[in-house]
């Protein structure tokens, strides 16, 4: 009772004081005017001026002038501006105040987000890179990763798909797993979400900062998920004392950056097709007859004379002229002393280049932080996102131009009964659509026990689900044709629940010892649930997949499965700083996981780092060269949970056996874990448990140096790392008499070594001019050290060199081999095949070179007989290329003058090879073929059904430099508009030009270096508008 009365009295006092205060302010109101300039005397527009302890403030106009009403003559002004140190200026009775702003000592006071805490950049011991997110915001993207390309040293981003809503492939310091994921862990606001590459749930505009944890000291705190590095994403929180409404709109137009490879001249196409068949001794197709499949091929005369009048521009039929995408965001953020919230909405609409190939996404993000008392605060963030993908990609723009779109009766023209490639028929009749729903929520509290000890706990929940609807009709699709209509519904649901609780204790002793200790634990439960329904054999297809019970019930197929991972972890970190000069960090994490074998349930990951802030030493200071000179060294281990669930349990299979007139369920030991052989016709039996199965372990050394010169206007960071991953998981083979084919075991070793250099310069800072540049250089050397036990891995041996290898990746039917191999002593996925030495010009030459049969005839590839045994066999293969770049480099240029800003970003990949696997079939290659009259050494003759060998003829230099991004912006003068505080319009172009020798559309392909064709890369133009109220 007494307490309550006290509270009431307190509340009254507070209200009274505030009321009286404002009254007093009204009475003693004073207007302060002034001009704010930089050290060069140039006026600074847009500078924030606030009266301390109040919510009143203003910003300077174009001439750097301001005027602000203050409560009294002793008021204190807080003057702040990006890139400058914040100043507090006492009014001290003056009514006219001139303030000179000092440029900030860039970077050092920056606070970086690391695992379970933050750290001042100057106190950093590990290798952590920051990405300047605000430089990325002019380019629209479904997920932030697409924009990170070239923005951080050692972070490799490959955007090989341009489909609407497509994700990216991300690597930090190379790949370190053969069978498991090589994608970094992405952590959003302390919530470890999973693999980076498709963070579509979070609107890039809601992201405040991104940190990349690269070395063991930084990443080991994430233990068995840290081996591929960690990307820390922090979302926007409103700053105290502000209210902001922001609206941004981006409209993007896409164009192909190069010409399509297609047949302009169908007569030439037909002639070459005839030539190809004739050379192989086969009947020529284009001779005005219907072939055995029922396809009528007009004769060359019919084509030439116009009797066969069709020349269809399939590209015009299947592509949109200019796909238009738009991206709209609205956000409201506000914060006072106790509560801050940020609400943002985003709607993204991406049009694919194919007609009716679309992606849409809406996102709502609400974050609230509230201080309940001095010692207790709560926070929550809730992201809700919904997307819809209408797939209509891969339409055949390469379809035979001699075939019309419609026949005389107005029906789709199909070449024969089994012509399933009609793009318009597919567009109109095939259903292929996915609806996705995502939610990411976190709920946490912070408890300040006393000045030094803080407890934080956070509960996280992620939900992702998709429903895919597909229908393949009887006509126009292969599946529908054979199954008399085929309907599918696929459900996928991914749920992750995790909790993180940790305490941080920070203290300083005797003014020279800074100690902070963090310790905590976490729990995670991750479930993926899938189900599939399939129905076939429809009497009437009008409903598509809307009523699957309308199919023939006897042919229904259902399937479902679930995988679950549980993980319990304990972790801790200690930092010790002596005299602001010597820094020590130690971390340790213990992970227990349900997927580990029962004999290896717990994994331990320690790390240690030291660094030396040499610029605080007198003898360095005396050199008067360095503003910063810091040496870092770290060492530690982290892991990769590359194991799928249930590999440590015996597993039975379910099959069917026809008995007593019906299909009976048959169950027993061993299940089909995969397929192999030509057309994947043979089953691979698994199900024998490995109770000792464990994580892959990466041990990493990192040595770094940070330097700053010239008043910190030139900053250099360089790192060298040496990473070794062992206990790599692989599927070993078992003796066939065991009745099992393969089981997961640990073995194998990979190393990655590399150098990363980042140079940042503020080249011009004079008057209204600002010019800065960032150069990033990264090189990674990757080597497969061991593929595991030689006998059990199915390793093959190169007979010429003794090199042990294993085929990897896709097996090309035309080559009857994979292009990539994993070879001991070589980088990941090198290309393995034959060397060519031009084209055979005479039969004698062909025979002499070791070719046989028609492959020795003029116009064929002249392969090199590497082992000099007089014939060309599989033993003449060797390494013919490497998809890994020698190095990557990027350059960002930022220029601004007054209200205009300009930026340009170049990104380059150097020294990698690309396999142009279908090069022989291209419309721009076929006419260049070898003939009697054109005895070229560059192209073979056309020959139908040739047994091709995978050779260096298909390997090209994939180096490129891309003008990735150019942006021009203008900040409109809104001084006279009370309600708008900022208005920016801009024009942004991505992929303005690509410098490359590659002869396909674009050399930016997947990490295995295989180019699949597809369509040219887009050049995209974005018109953007950004308004703040």
């Amino acid at each position: 009772m007494k307490k309550r009365r006290e509270k009431l009295r307190m509340a009254f006092l507070v209200i009274f004081t505030v009321f009286m205060g404002s009254l007093f302010a009204q009475m003693n109101g004073l207007t302060v005017r002034g001009v704010i300039t930089d050290t060069y005397g140039e006026a600074l527009p847009g500078v924030n001026i606030m009266e301390k302890g109040t919510t009143s403030g203003t910003i300077t106009d174009g001439e750097g002038a301001f005027s602000l009403e203050v409560t009294n003559s002793d008021a204190i002004l807080v003057v702040s501006f990006i890139g400058f140190d914040t100043q507090e200026v006492a009014v001290a009775g003056r009514s006219n105040i001139a303030v000179i702003m000092q440029e900030s000592q860039l970077g050092l006071e920056e606070v970086l987000v690391i695992g379970y805490g933050t750290v001042r950049k100057s106190d950093l011991t590990g290798s952590v890179a920051t990405v300047k997110v605000d430089e990325l915001q002019d380019t629209p993207a479904n997920s932030i990763e697409r924009l990170l390309q070239g923005r951080s040293a050692g972070l490799q981003v490959v955007n090989d798909s341009q489909d609407p809503g497509a994700g990216s492939t991300i690597r930090i310091r190379g790949g370190s797993s053969l069978e498991g994921s090589n994608a970094p862990l992405v952590v959003v606001d302390g919530f470890p979400l999973g693999d980076a590459g498709d963070l579509k749930q979070i609107n890039p505009a809601d992201i405040a900062s991104i940190e990349v944890l690269k070395d063991a000291s930084a990443a080991a705190i994430y233990g068995s998920r840290g081996a591929n590095g960690v990307i820390m994403v922090s979302t926007i929180r409103a700053a105290e004392g502000t209210t902001r409404v922001n609206i941004s709109q981006q409209t993007t137009l896409s164009r192909f950056d190069s010409k399509l490879k297609r047949w302009d001249d169908p007569l030439l196409m037909a002639m070459l097709s005839n030539e190809e068949q004739r050379n192989a001794g086969l009947q020529m197709p284009y001779r005005g007859v219907t072939d055995t499949q029922g396809t009528y091929y007009p004769s060359l005369y019919e084509i030439q004379s116009g009797a066969w009048p069709y020349n269809t521009r399939w590209d015009k039929e299947v592509f949109r002229d200019t796909p238009v995408s738009s991206n709209t965001s609205v956000s409201i953020g506000s914060a006072n002393e106790t509560t801050s919230f940020n609400l943002s909405l985003n709607y993204l609409n991406e049009q694919g280049v194919y007609i009716e190939d679309d992606y849409q996404k809406g996102t709502v993000n609400l974050a609230v932080d509230h201080k309940l008392s001095d010692f207790f605060s709560v926070s929550t963030s809730n992201i809700f996102s919904r997307n819809e993908r209408d797939r209509n990609g891969g339409l055949a723009y390469w379809r035979n131009p001699l075939w019309p779109v419609y026949d005389e009766t107005g029906n789709y023209f199909t070449a024969n009964e089994r012509d399933f490639g009609h793009p318009i028929a597919r567009t109109n009749h095939v259903l292929d659509k996915t609806n996705g729903l995502d939610y990411i929520g976190s709920y946490g509290f912070t408890f300040n026990l006393n000045e030094t000890l803080t407890l934080k706990s956070q509960m996280n929940y992620k939900h992702g689900s998709t429903v895919t609807d597909r229908f393949n009709p009887r006509d126009y699709t292969e599946e529908g044709f054979f199954r008399n209509g085929a309907a599918h519904i696929e459900n996928w649901q991914d749920e992750k629940l995790s909790s993180e609780t940790f305490a941080t204790w920070e203290n300083q002793f005797a003014g020279i010892h800074d100690i902070s200790v963090m310790g905590g634990f976490s729990y995670e439960n991750h479930t993926i649930k899938q189900s599939q329904l399939r129905a076939y054999d429809f009497v009437n297809e009008a409903l598509g997949n809307e009523n699957m019970s309308a199919g023939n019930p006897e042919s229904n197929v259902v399937g479902n499965n679930l995988t679950k991972r549980k993980m319990l972890s304990y972790y801790g970190r200690a930092n010790y700083k002596l005299l602001d000069r010597y820094l020590f960090t130690g971390t340790v994490r213990a992970d227990g996981s349900s997927v580990f074998g029962e004999n290896n349930k717990w994994a331990y990951f320690p790390s240690f780092a030291v660094s030396w802030n040499a610029h605080h030493e007198e003898f360095i200071k005396n050199l008067m060269v360095f503003d910063e000179l810091k040496f870092r060294a770290s060492f530690g281990t982290s892991g990769n949970q590359a194991i799928s669930p249930y590999q440590t349990l015996a597993r039975y299979g379910v099959e069917n056996y026809f008995n007593d007139g019906a299909w009976r369920t048959a169950i027993g030991p061993g299940y089909v874990g995969g397929y192999y052989g030509a057309d994947s016709r043979y089953r691979e039996w698994r199900g024998i448990p490995n109770r000792g199965l464990k994580w892959e372990t990466t041990t990493q050394f990192n040595y770094g140096i940070d330097m700053a010169f010239l008043n910190r206007r030139l900053r250099i960071t360089a790192d060298y790392y040496d990473k070794e991953t062992n206990d790599l998981l692989y599927l070993r083979y078992l003796a066939p008499s065991s009745s099992y084919d393969r089981m997961w075991v640990n073995g194998g070793e990979i190393s990655n070594k590399g150098v990363e250099i980042t140079i940042e310069g503020d080249i011009i800072r004079r008057g209204n001019w600002r010019f800065g540049s960032t150069l990033i250089y990264a090189q990674n050397r990757n080597e497969v050290i061991s593929l595991g036990d030689v006998e059990t891995t199915g390793i093959q041996v190169d007979n010429n060199t003794g090199m042990m290898y294993r085929p990897s990746g896709y097996e090309f039917t035309q080559f009857r081999q994979t292009a990539n191999i994993l070879a001991v002593g070589q980088p990941f996925n090198v290309f393995y095949g034959y060397r060519t030495d031009g084209i055979v010009q005479s039969l004698e030459e062909g025979l002499a070179a070791g070719m046989q049969g028609y492959l020795a005839e003029p116009g064929e590839f002249k392969y090199v007989d590497i082992n000099n045994d007089g014939e060309i066999t599989t033993d003449d293969r060797t390494i013919i290329g490497d998809p890994n770049p020698d190095f990557t480099a990027s350059m960002a240029l930022n220029l601004s003058y007054k209200r205009i800003d300009f930026s340009m970003f170049l990104n380059g990949v150097f020294g990698n090879d690309v396999v142009y696997q279908n090069r022989l079939d291209q419309a721009d290659v076929r006419p260049l073929r070898w003939t009697q009259d054109n005895p070229t050494n560059d192209y073979p003759r056309l020959y139908s059904g040739r047994q091709l060998r995978f050779s260096d003829w298909f390997v090209e230099d994939g180096s490129f430099v891309r003008i990735q991004n150019v942006s021009l912006g203008y900040n409109v003068n809104v001084d006279n508009l009370e309600f708008i505080s900022n208005l920016r319009v801009y024009l942004n172009a991505t992929n303005l030009y690509t410098f490359t020798k590659f002869s396909g559309y674009d050399p930016e392909v997947g990490l295995d270096g295989i180019y699949w064709g597809g369509y040219p890369r887009f050049t995209q133009y974005t018109f953007g508008l950004n308004m703040t109220f």
Binding site: T292, F375, F376, F445, F447, L449, L455, S457, T501, F521, S522, Y523, E554, V557, N560, N561, L562, T563, K566, M567, G592, S593, S594, V595, P645, Y646, L649, R651, Y652, G653, V654, E655, N656, Y657, F658, N659, D660, W663, T665, A666, I667, G668, P669, G670, Y671, A678, R681, Y682, R683, I688, N690, R691, L734, A735, P736, S737, S738, S739, Y740, E791
Partner: protein, 501 residues
Amino acid sequence: MRNKILISLLAVTFTITSCDLTEEPYGFYSDDNFYTTQEDANSALLYTYNAFTFIEYTRGLNSIGDLPTETTDLKPDEGQDAQELYDWRAATISTNLTLENFFKYGYVAINRANVLIEQVECSAFPEAFKNQIIGEALVLRSWSYFHLIRVFGLVPVHNAPVRQLEDTSAPLAPSLDALYDLVIADLIRAEEMLEVNKSVARVGRVDKVAAQSILAKIYLTIASSKQNGVKLYRDMTKDVDAMYESAAFWAGKVMNDQTDYFLDPNLTNVYDVNQPHGPEHIFILSHDRSGANEGNYSKTPLMFMPWVNGVPFFLKYEDGRLVRTTHGWEVYRVSPSFFATFHEDDQRGIDLIHDEVYDADGNVVGSIAQGSFTHPFTVKYQDPEFEGDRTSARPFLIRFADIALTYAEAVGPTTEGYAWVNAVRARAGLQPLEAGLSVADFRQAVIQERAWELCYEGHYLFDLRRTGTVTTKVPQATGLDEDEASFYPLPQREQMLNDAL
């Protein structure tokens, strides 16, 4: 106050975090949630049968049993595995995938049977049920071993379930005697446990007669192989005559002691896809065209039928019937020289091997004469109700005729011996065998009869091997040494990965 909040918050957090890291199976059966009921045991028995339905096994039946013999020619551009078998390429045969698969699936069935037998033996199921399940499992295990021995000779013995890495390597049987003794003991035990049980419902299952049949085949294999001095067999301690007697004993039980199985009087009925329950079929696999995956249904007819125009066509039988069939890939072809050995009245040459195809109206749409294809083809495997390339055509594993000829060969030129071989001949429209043959000539005649009767059913190579005639009869095998001709080597992968070898 502050501490109370803190403690309650921590309590909540710990509760959420409490967790057990043991992994529980979800969505799949495992050691601890199966074999608990009779239905489970039945299902596991069907899983054992199922091992034989995969193409890894069924392709091997013809690719090993027929392709390497003079009865069969091969499509010239068929894959390497088939070429190696057809050409008897001894140098690379240890890496042959067809052989490796056939080897492996033999053991897949053996392991499935082993787990089943172990689980059911220690169960509390009724005795009759246990006998039924274990009996069938023993027959399947024996069938697998018998096939493995015939193809590979001495093989590793797995008589306990493979449950962990340490169990995956098993040593070779010490001798052929030991190996056969094991198989024979299993079969005798199974024969006692099982009843004669033939019905439509049991198509694709084995019974007492199957156990007897396999015993007869095993004894005959030992007897003839040893008599002919075949490698490994010649070192066996068993007596040739005793072995012939045992073969006659068990085959005699099939001939005389039961009435459910007999020679189907109508030859073409034997190959009627809709009569898998016919009296002839002692052990036939189970496929059905309604299956979802190959293995559930069979593509076997496509391996034999000609391509012609890549569209279905009709076959015309002697009685004028036109039967629709799928076209095929003409992989296994009837060798013209073997075709020429059929007597001109032999229905097996006339009605079961064709060289013309027809349309629905009975017009010839393809023939050797027209150049539509190059070789005659067998129509033993065909399904008029095929759906696309899905058929119900089933491999014939043990037919009554096989056991009848086994019996005849075992008893020699006795009255019964002549009676059974002549019964088979009569059904094919042939005159009785010449009377008064010597034992050796009679047995040779029976083996020749087997070639005509059982060709393309996966038997003939083993007849060649047990008579030591591979190198003399098969042109491609000329010049092979005894080792290469008698057995295929263990697959290289087995040699490398089985630490117990």
